[in-house]
């Protein structure tokens, strides 16, 4: 409706506006459209009273149009074993009437194309759908509990969350797609109304008929009273590998010149950990048990390297003991023949190492 027309009507018949307000979704269903024409004329040169026509009336019908849209335009990164992971969608009621919406979340079949260029690899568990109850667009467990949309006004938008658990044992980069479908349902009263149906057969000018006007979504057809869109979880986890190397430093006969691995020789071990995954690993504990091996740990030889999977430099362990007096950054220690270090964070594509020396018995 034009601004100009609105203004004129506002002066003359403000009440009419409430009945026929047209938002983005258009004129509300069940609006009576009345129209009377008039004619002015003369007979024999004398102006005659205006004559009005009858008033034609029809009632606007309900055009059901719903739009589901994934929010974010990309994967939602998760780690194996996480619970309550959230995919976010919006649902917009483009119907020219208040509507309820039934919500259905369905997992994509394995190998189906996910919306972000990959293919579905696994299924999530404990799949649930919840409606944002407080409009903060954030899933609040225990607060957002409704599993359907009740009485959404024309032009109204609400956020819908798909919540699921991520099974353990999934490799980095694996994805799980979930399609959310909104099915238009008749409003009125508490609770979810029945799925809306198109008016079949002859229409009536004075009754609100229902017409499906929706477009096809990811898994639904044109004009079926529903709409769907797909979002996907993607595993972003750390993938760790550990490597141990040894270098002979000296022996009692050759000293440091071409030393050999003979009893009494000093050998440096280097244990490196590398993360080839897509997410940082935390609290990475590296342990090397020397007990039972014919070697003896050399006190004060323990270093940790934060700058990569390299076996030079690094930070010296202060006293070989664990405890609150630690000055090295990675809590390295040796106790009873077990050498260990704890790296607080091992970033994706990062590497760290610990190195120490032993004497061959």
């Amino acid at each position: 409706m034009s601004a100009a027309k609105t203004r004129i009507l506002a002066f003359t018949a403000g009440l009419l506006l409430a009945a026929g307000q047209a938002g983005a979704t258009g004129t509300a269903a069940n609006t009576s459209i009345n129209n009377t024409a008039s004619v002015d004329y003369t007979v024999g040169g004398v102006n005659q009273p205006d004559v009005n026509s009858n008033t034609t009336t029809f009632v606007t019908d309900r055009r059901i149009l719903v739009t589901v849209a994934e929010v974010g335009g990309g994967y939602t990164d998760v780690a194996p074993g996480q619970t309550g992971q959230v995919l976010t969608f919006t649902l917009t009621n483009n119907t020219n009437a208040v509507m309820d919406f039934r919500l259905d979340a369905t997992q994509q079949a394995t190998n189906a194309a996910d919306p972000f260029g990959g293919t579905d690899d696994f299924d999530v568990t404990a799949l649930q759908v919840f409606v944002d109850s407080n409009g903060n667009n954030t899933y609040d467990a225990g607060t957002d509990t409704a599993a359907f949309i009740d009485e959404l006004a024309a032009d109204g938008t609400v956020t819908v969350f798909v919540v699921a658990n991520i099974p353990i044992g999934q490799a980095n980069g694996n994805s799980a797609g979930v399609t959310l479908t909104a099915i238009a349902a008749d409003s009125g009263g508490a609770g979810l109304g029945s799925d809306s149906t198109q008016t079949a057969g002859a229409e009536s000018p004075n009754v609100v008929d229902t017409v499906f006007g929706d477009i096809a979504g990811d898994t639904d057809a044109n004009r079926d009273g529903r709409h769907s869109d797909t979002d996907a979880y993607r595993i972003q986890t750390a993938t760790l590998s550990v490597t141990k190397t040894s270098t002979v430093i000296s022996d009692p006969f050759n000293n440091t010149t071409n030393p050999k691995r003979i009893p009494g020789a000093i050998v440096e071990y280097c244990v490196t950990v590398q993360n080839t995954g897509g997410a940082a690993a935390t609290a990475v504990v590296v342990t090397d048990v020397l007990t039972g091996q014919p070697v003896t740990y050399q006190a004060g030889s323990l270093f940790t390297v934060d700058t990569g999977a390299v076996c030079t430099g690094g930070d010296a362990e202060d006293d070989d003991a664990a405890g609150g007096d630690e000055t090295d950054p990675n809590g390295a220690a040796q106790a009873a023949g077990t050498v260990s270090a704890t790296f607080a964070t091992l970033p994706a594509a990062g590497g760290k190492s610990m190195r120490f020396r032993v004497q061959i018995n």
Partner: protein, 167 residues
């Protein structure tokens, strides 16, 4: 529907009664009779598989649907009616759809200011949301009227029509 005076009668009913009373002998002074009807076009598939549009009474109308108002005039008097001007305020929820070329009986004029000024839609302007004038569009049209070029003779019948889209 009865047309006895009824203080509970709705406005629409009262207007419809006007026509019926207008046809009564007691008020036969009216020379012209005016009827208004609203239609929509629906796609119909013929037996041979071809599609064509049928004009049916407007019933299944949702936002975006085009309706056609057909206003029929008839001279029920004994003398010709001259200077005939048929005026129709366009329902607020409808946007006037300009048609190519003049109508069958007379070129319509439109108004975007409730009938104060008239002209072809392309010649009219309204104040835009930004306060500046802009060319008028179909949704700005408040009234449409037809000035019949020739008098309507006794017994003669004709019609004018226009299309509008539910907003």
């Amino acid at each position: 529907m009865t047309c006895f005076p009824n203080r509970y009668a709705l406005v629409a009913s009262a207007a419809a009664c006007l026509l019926l009373t207008g046809a009564r002998p007691a008020l036969a002074a009216d020379t012209l009779e005016l009827r208004n009807a609203v239609f929509q076009e629906v796609d119909v598939k013929a037996a041979d598989g071809t599609m064509h549009k049928d004009r049916v009474p407007a019933a299944k109308v949702v936002p975006g649907t085009e309706v056609i108002y057909v206003i029929t005039y008839r001279n029920v008097g004994k003398q010709p009616a001259s200077d005939v001007v048929i005026t129709n305020p366009i329902p607020e929820e409808l946007a006037y759809r300009p048609e190519q070329g003049p109508g069958p009986n007379a070129a319509p004029e439109v108004s975007v200011d409730s009938g104060k000024t008239w002209g072809a839609l392309a010649s009219l302007s309204v104040t835009g949301d930004d306060g500046k004038p802009r060319p008028a569009q179909g949704s700005d049209v408040t009234h449409v009227r037809w000035k019949l070029a020739k008098p309507v003779k006794a017994g003669e019948e004709g019609s004018v029509s226009y299309r509008a889209v539910l907003e």
